[in-house]
Structure formats: structure tokens, C-alpha cells
């Protein structure tokens, strides 16, 4: 996938000017936020569950090696195979080997951000294997050769008219006169088209919301049932998951499941929460003959033991971006890679480097709404600040910014000089702005005055006036004594 994070500013400008996108983004604010609020209000134990979920993940990360080994042993015991991949390239290679061994021509896919992260679809196609996305949102964007703009609602940036146009363009076997003006009709059509694909697939690929060490189980949650049809109909099921998806026990998974769907879509549970352990058993009339798990590192181990370790608690619910004013303004594609919004701003530099993705942790007001809704209590603004510190150390921020802030800090450390300089500058500005009380334009303040008036200062600074009053008071006191 092309990385366009370096051009985040241009991406944002284009996004702000895109009327279709802006209309679609209206759905994010209204829908997700209200639904989450209702679900949270209906569960008094929600905040306590967030604390417990955080603690479970912290404990797991502190013992990740042991839990990974325990998990692997149980998968093998259940008749599954475990593969390990350090990099995206290795993971793709393993996936291709499995598909080739199964003589796969078509593979179906459940919705999986990790497969986006490793650019799996393009790779499979280049190697003569056809991947078919089965989640409706993923299917739609696959038709458009786009990438997801949200980690759980991949097509949130689209309107139904756009979806209709794509379906008409691609589903040429269906009568042109059919009515596709409503979402119901679009869903029905996708259901029919994809039903055939489910049966045609040789391999089904899913991600995993959780991997349970106690039992060697992979858990996926969907509302459509597409992940299930992807993993039980083909002969081979492959689970691709990054190593931090491990949780110790079924009960631990149950705890975190309680905060996952509520934070994501405001549901108590997703329609289908599916726990899979190994291939079909003797006597099973359905299910895959082979069950593979590919455990992927791809930068996670490098986050352990660093100030970014807490990001590994993320369960990919999307609540942060649902509540982010920056995401609401520009949508997900502007972020330029796989993961958008606040979690993308923290995770992306870890995975592709802060030199390419420095804009992401900088384009935040630190309003803190993301952290306030994160079910795993991840301190997202704090970690964005850590990225800014890394950039500062490496001199990656623009020179004008560095010098401007350095100058400000120089004065701020010298109160006498600071007050001398400001006691000259502010009254002048105050005089200039006295008439209207504001400036429509001010040199060096172009970023501000492009869109806003600049309020004029009142005149003499506060410290100037206080100094004067203290001098008078002192004089009075001396005069009296």
C-alpha cells in the first residue's frame, strides 16, 4: 500500500474540500458516539471493566513470551499448525505457501486490518490467487481499489450513491433495470454475490480479535457472519494475528469482550462472537480440514519495554477515532496508511517510522477525548507527545517552528527580559488594534488570520500593571512610614 502520511496536510486539504466525504463523515459523529454512550450508560460496571481489561493486558504483555508458548502448545494439541513471522514479508510468504499447498485459486477473507498492514491482497493477486473480501464494507472498497478509512467501518467515507455506482459497474450479470437506491437492496445484492464466493473458496483467511492461551482458541467478532462463513466452508482456515492479541484465559477474553463491542458500535455483543479451536474433529460434519495460525511480530516486540508499550493494549475498537475532532474533519484516508485516528497516530510511527508519519502525532489538539473513551485506558495523547519528543531530538520538525518555540522558551526562562520585551510590544499592538479590538491580518500570524480575526491585546500587560501597582504601594508604604 502506498504510504501518503508524509503528505498529510495536502491529504487533509483535499478531504476538507470533498463534499461527499464531509457528508459521509456526519454519520460518524452522530451514529457511533450516541450508540456508545447508550451502551455505556446501561452498564454500571463499565468503567471497572475498563480497569480490569487494562490490567489483564498489562499482565499479559509483561509475560508475553510465556503466554505465546502456552498458546502455541494448545493450538498444536488441538490439531492446528502455528507459524511465526518476524516481518510482513515473512507472513506473506507463509500465507502463499499455505495457499499453494492447498492449490488455492480463490480465498475468502474476513475483515482483518492486519492483512491490510501486510498488503496481503495485492501480493496474493500478483501470485495468481484471487482474494475476495466478504465483509460488506471491505467488499465495497475492494471493488473501488481503495483501502479502509476506519478500522471497523471500512466504507464509512462513502455514500450509498457511490456504492450503487460501483455495484452497477462490477455486477454486470445482473439486470440494469434493478433498483439499488436503498441500502437494503445493496446488502441483498452483496449477499447473493458473496454466497457463491464463500463456496468457491479453497482457503479462508481471518484475523483474530483474541488468541486464548489457555485453550489455543482464536476469537473473531462480526455482525454479518462473514467471518464464520469464511472460516468454516473452505478446506483451509488461516488465522493471521499479531503477537499482542494473546490473552491468558477464556474469562480474560470475556472481560475484554464486554468493553469491545460497546466501545465500537454500542452493542452489548457483536451478533457473532466465534471461538475456534483447531480443524474439524472426528465426527464433525463441517469445518475446515486444516487450521493454521500465523503469529506476526512486525514491530510489536520493538514496542515492548518502551514508552510505547501501552499501545499494545489496543483492541481495535475504533472508539478513539469515532470521538476525534480531527478524524471528524478529515476522515481516515488523510492519515495515509492503514491505521487512522488517534490510535493510528500512535501506532503508525512505530510500524513505519516517525520520519514518514510525523504529521500524525502532531495533528492533534490533545483534547483527550480519545483517552477518555478508550476501553483499554491507553494514554494516547501522552504517547503522541512522546513521538513529538523523538522528532524534536532528531530535529525532524520544521525549522521555523523550532526557532520560534526556542525563542519563546529563551524569553520564558528569563522573566525580567520577557516582561521588558512584552511591556513594549503589547501596548503597541494594543494601540494598533484599539479601534476594532481585532486584526484581520497580522504579519507572522498568517496561519491564524487566514481563517480568523486576531483579538487585539488590551494594552499594558498584566505584569506591567502589577509592577506599577506594587511600586505605588511600596512608595505609599514608604511614604507613610
Amino acid at each position: 500500500m502506498d504510504i501518503t502520511s508524509p503528505t498529510f496536510k495536502q491529504n487533509s486539504r483535499a478531504a476538507l474540500a470533498d463534499a461527499q466525504l464531509q457528508k459521509a463523515l456526519g454519520n460518524v459523529r452522530g451514529g457511533f458516539i450516541d450508540k456508545r454512550r447508550k451502551a455505556v450508560d446501561a452498564l454500571p460496571e463499565f468503567d471497572a471493566l475498563r480497569d480490569n481489561a487494562r490490567d489483564i493486558k498489562n499482565h499479559t504483555l509483561d509475560n508475553l513470551d510465556l503466554y505465546l508458548e502456552a498458546y502455541e502448545a494448545k493450538v498444536i494439541e488441538a490439531g492446528g499448525k502455528v507459524h511465526w513471522a518476524e516481518t510482513a514479508e515473512q507472513a506473506r510468504g507463509i500465507m502463499l505457501d499455505i495457499c499453494r499447498a492447498a492449490n488455492a485459486r480463490t480465498v475468502t477473507k474476513g475483515k482483518s486490518m492486519i492483512t491490510e498492514e501486510i498488503d496481503l491482497n495485492d501480493f496474493l493477486e500478483r501470485n495468481g490467487i484471487r482474494p475476495v473480501e466478504t465483509d460488506l464494507g471491505e467488499y465495497i472498497i475492494q471493488l473501488r481499489h481503495e483501502h479502509p478509512s476506519h478500522i471497523i467501518a471500512p466504507a464509512v467515507h462513502l455514500n450509498k450513491e457511490q456504492v450503487e455506482a460501483d455495484f452497477r459497474r462490477v455486477h454486470t450479470h445482473l439486470p440494469a433495470s434493478r433498483d439499488l437506491s436503498e441500502p437494503e437492496a445493496l446488502l441483498d445484492e452483496a449477499r447473493g454475490v458473496l454466497r457463491k464466493e464463500y463456496f468457491a473458496a479453497d482457503v479462508g483467511i481471518t484475523g483474530a480479535n483474541f488468541l486464548v492461551a489457555e485453550t489455543g482458541t482464536s476469537i473473531i467478532v462480526t455482525n454479518e457472519g462473514n467471518g464464520d462463513l469464511t472460516q468454516i466452508l473452505p478446506r483451509v482456515h488461516v488465522v493471521l494475528a499479531s503477537i499482542e492479541k494473546i490473552v491468558p484465559t477464556l474469562e480474560d477474553a470475556a472481560q475484554i469482550l464486554r468493553v469491545l463491542a460497546r466501545s465500537a458500535t454500542g452493542q452489548d455483543m457483536s451478533v457473532y462472537t466465534t471461538l475456534s479451536t483447531g480443524p474439524r474433529r472426528p465426527g464433525d460434519p463441517d469445518g475446515p480440514e486444516q487450521y493454521h495460525v500465523i503469529l506476526l511480530d512486525n514491530g510489536r516486540s520493538a514496542m515492548l519495554g518502551t514508552e510505547f508499550q501501552e499501545m499494545l493494549r489496543c483492541i481495535r475498537c475504533g472508539a478513539c477515532m469515532n470521538h476525534c475532532p480531527v478524524y471528524h474533519a478529515v476522515g481516515g484516508h488523510a492519515y495515509g496508511w492503514v491505521y487512522p485516528g488517534p490510535m493510528g497516530a500512535v501506532l503508525t510511527p512505530s510500524l513505519i517510522g516517525v520520519d514518514k508519519s510525523g504529521h500524525l502525532p502532531n495533528a492533534s489538539t490533545f483534547c483527550g477525548r480519545c483517552e477518555s473513551v478508550c476501553p483499554m485506558r491507553i494514554p494516547l495523547p501522552k504517547m503522541m507527545r512522546h513521538w513529538r519528543e523523538r522528532e524534536f531530538e532528531r530535529g525532524l520538525n520544521p525549522a521555523t517552528q523550532r526557532y520560534g518555540l526556542k525563542l519563546w522558551a529563551w524569553f520564558a526562562r528569563r522573566p525580567a527580559l520577557y516582561q521588558l520585551a512584552t511591556s513594549i510590544a503589547m501596548p503597541v499592538l494594543g494601540l494598533l488594534g484599539r479601534g476594532k479590538g481585532r486584526f484581520g491580518y497580522l504579519p507572522l500570524a498568517g496561519g491564524w488570520t487566514k481563517y480568523r480575526e486576531m483579538p487585539a491585546p488590551q494594552g499594558r500587560t498584566f505584569m506591567q500593571q502589577v509592577r506599577g501597582r506594587k511600586a505605588v504601594a511600596k512608595g505609599l508604604a514608604e511614604g507613610l512610614s
Binding site: 496536510k9 487533509s12 476538507l16 475532532p325 480531527v326 471528524h328 474533519a329 478529515v330 502532531n362 495533528a363 492533534s364 489538539t365 490533545f366 483534547c367 483527550g368 477525548r369 477518555s372 507527545r385 513521538w387 513529538r388 519528543e389 523523538r390 522528532e391 524534536f392 531530538e393 520538525n397 517552528q401 518555540l405 526556542k406 519563546w408 522558551a409 520564558a412 526562562r413 528569563r414 522573566p415 520577557y418 516582561q419 512584552t422 503589547m426 479590538g437 481585532r438 496561519g447 491564524w448 487566514k450 481563517y451 480568523r452 480575526e453 486576531m454 483579538p455 487585539a456 491585546p457 488590551q458 499594558r460 500587560t461 498584566f462 505584569m463 500593571q465 502589577v466 509592577r467 506594587k470
Partner: protein, 253 residues
């Protein structure tokens, strides 16, 4: 603790430079609760611009200056949620590697309060004696709200103003798009965010917009005036202290 608590006023750089009225309003409000207020002269900035830009060294140096100037007071009060948040929540972390300074920072931070929270939560104020015949609305600045829990207190004090009518805007707790250097680093996005805010302010039907942070207020006032809005913008302290003779932020009309 003496019977008359000694408060050091941390005026904040924006109030100092742009709107001293807010500082004098803060002094009056604090004195009205029976405290004495002093303004240490060796203050400049809380260091947040450096801190949020990743410059921990400068932030730490500024913090040392601030702590030295204020640590002998009983309380440190700032008319800004974001500056108070910086002093209270972030200063100790700047000294993680220095146990002595960190102890000083922790002791200092324990004394820090945002102005409205100080009046209500610490001094127990339940109302003010100001009068204002006006319809007002209130924007919850992010740091004050999410770092310091300030939400009910300003509304409580505003409600006590004689003659005032309070209307709640939609999404009062959603960011205004200021974000310190964010608004000049990403002006297009900042503008999109503040436009949603001014839409909500207009729809609320208030004549006056209040908030507790001058950065947010200057941002929203600047946008409202550019849009030709008649809404007037003031810091909540001015109104609570009855100091509304001065022109509002960004002027009238």
C-alpha cells in the same frame, strides 16, 4: 496553614499579554473567598508550548523557574484549565530522573488549582454577587474538563449571577480546535473544527460566550468575528467578578 490562605496567582501568558482584566478579575474572586493574593514577579509561561512540541529540556527549565517562584504559597491558582493542568498534572513527570526536584514538583503540584475549581471545590463558594442581564452559554475547554474535572463548577457559579439566563449549546465539551500550536500548524483542520463550534454557538441562541481558557476564547472569538457574528466573548472570570465594562475579546460588532 495560616487563617488567611496565601494564594500565588499564576496569571498565564495569554492573560498577561492579551487580557489583564481576567487576572484582576481572578484576584477579586479569590480575595472574595477570604484569601490574600500575591503575584510573584518571576513568572512567565507554564512551559506547555515547549512541552507539547517535544522540547522537554526547555519545559523543565521553565518549570523549575515556576516552582521556585510559587512553592512557598499555600495555593497556586491559574485562570486557565490548560495551564493549571500543565502545572498540576505534567510538572512532576518532567523531573522523573531527579528525586529532589521531583519531590518539590509534587509538593508544588498539590497546591495548584484552576480558578473556578479553586473557588468552588477548595473555598466552597456557592455563588457570586455579580449581576448581568444577558443570555450566556459556556464552552468546556478540554484540559479543564478532562484533566481537572471542571464542568459543573462554572455552571453553578454562572447560575448564581443575578439576571443571567444560561443556555447549553450542543456539544459544549467538544474541542474548539485551538490546541495551542495546532491551530497554526494545521490551520485548515483547526478551522474546520472551530466552524462546527461556532455553528453550535450560534444555534444556542446566546448573546455571550464564556469559557475558562483564553486560548480557546481567542480562537472562538476570532472565528465568530470573521463570520460577522454579534456574539460577544468573555472569560468566565470577568463576568463572575462583574468586570464587564471592558470591550469583549476581539471587540464588539
Amino acid at each position: 496553614m495560616t487563617s488567611t490562605p496565601r494564594v500565588g496567582l499564576f496569571v498565564t501568558c495569554l492573560v498577561d499579554l492579551f487580557r489583564p482584566t481576567v487576572g484582576f478579575a481572578a484576584i477579586k474572586l479569590i480575595e472574595d473567598t477570604g484569601c490574600s493574593v500575591d503575584v510573584p514577579m518571576a513568572q512567565t509561561c507554564c512551559g506547555q508550548p515547549a512541552y507539547n512540541s517535544g522540547d522537554r529540556a526547555d519545559a523543565r527549565a521553565i518549570a523549575e523557574n515556576t516552582i521556585r517562584a510559587f512553592e512557598d504559597y499555600d495555593y497556586v491558582v491559574a485562570p486557565s484549565g490548560s495551564c493549571a493542568g500543565m502545572l498540576k498534572k505534567h510538572y512532576p513527570g518532567l523531573f522523573k530522573d531527579d528525586p529532589q526536584w521531583q519531590a518539590r514538583a509534587i509538593a508544588f503540584s498539590a497546591k495548584v488549582h484552576e480558578l473556578i475549581s479553586f473557588l468552588v471545590d477548595v473555598r466552597g463558594a456557592t455563588g457570586v454577587s455579580a449581576r448581568l442581564a444577558d443570555t450566556v452559554t459556556y464552552h468546556d475547554s478540554c484540559s479543564g474538563l478532562r484533566e481537572l474535572g471542571i464542568q459543573a463548577q462554572p455552571r453553578q457559579l454562572i447560575a448564581s449571577i443575578e439576571g443571567v439566563k444560561f443556555v447549553e449549546m450542543q456539544d459544549p465539551d467538544v474541542c474548539c480546535g485551538f490546541g495551542g500550536t495546532f491551530c497554526v500548524k494545521y490551520p485548515d483542520i483547526s478551522n474546520a473544527i472551530v466552524e462546527k463550534k461556532t455553528e453550535n454557538i450560534d444555534a444556542a441562541g446566546a448573546n455571550t460566550l464564556l469559557a475558562g481558557d483564553l486560548g480557546c476564547l481567542m480562537n472562538m472569538a476570532g472565528k465568530l468575528k470573521r463570520q460577522g457574528s454579534k456574539v460577544e466573548v468573555r472569560h468566565v472570570a470577568e463576568v463572575l467578578a462583574g468586570m464587564t465594562d471592558t470591550p469583549p475579546i476581539a471587540g464588539r460588532g
